[in-house]
Symmetry: C2
Subunit: 138 residues, 2 copies
Amino acid sequence: MPEILCTPIGFVSSPFKERGDAPRQGKLTDEISLITLKEEYLPATLGLDEEKDIFVLCWFDRSERDILQTHPAGDDTKPLKGVFANRSPHRPNPIALTLAEVIRIEENRITVRGLEALDGTPVLDIKPFRAEFDTPNR
Amino acid sequence: MPEILCTPIGFVSSPFKERGDAPRQGKLTDEISLITLKEEYLPATLGLDEEKDIFVLCWFDRSERDILQTHPAGDDTKPLKGVFANRSPHRPNPIALTLAEVIRIEENRITVRGLEALDGTPVLDIKPFRAEFDTPNR
């Protein structure tokens, strides 16, 4: 098995500077964040201006990777759940999945609403939301 | 910037053996796949049996990482789009996001419907679907 080595496609600039500053999920904030892509990935944004809702996959570099169970929503009164059964930022591969709203795109700078990432967080991928694939059939 | 090194939490066993075998998206198949987690991650599945729909994040190790624009759905008659504006398996970090249906969980083996991953694909993360976070407000 070769190593799985990710490369940041860009970085987040956000008002959340430290772990305690960020909301639990992006949907719980109206704050604006900026994703600055590396210039070399500009061709990969062709058509992105037609999208309103995008999944942003970030690498939560300030998360813990060896925590396997947490209390949902950080609420100690709730029973422990495995991190694959909740949305904890702490997980073996701290890849955060956040549906954000595109506000503006200017070249390699994508302004979004609803990202909970800390300032400086590496971005791994951007995908357009597709209701037909991303919501249950039922 | 330290290296971003992911570790597979497990692997997919699926009927899709080669690139041409797999459907374009998991929702386009009723085929059953098996995710076998590494034993060490068993504690991270606590409560997963309560979930019906899970996002499976796979590392598409047979994708191309230097393709930045593709024709949507592999249809040459459609204009090129950047890979951040479509759901191509080819992207700088080939992390696939698929909403799959949990059929059965037996210890570290998770049987799901609707995964398009090739046989042997590494799995990076599993997250429960949460409509309040994973669908647009509008």
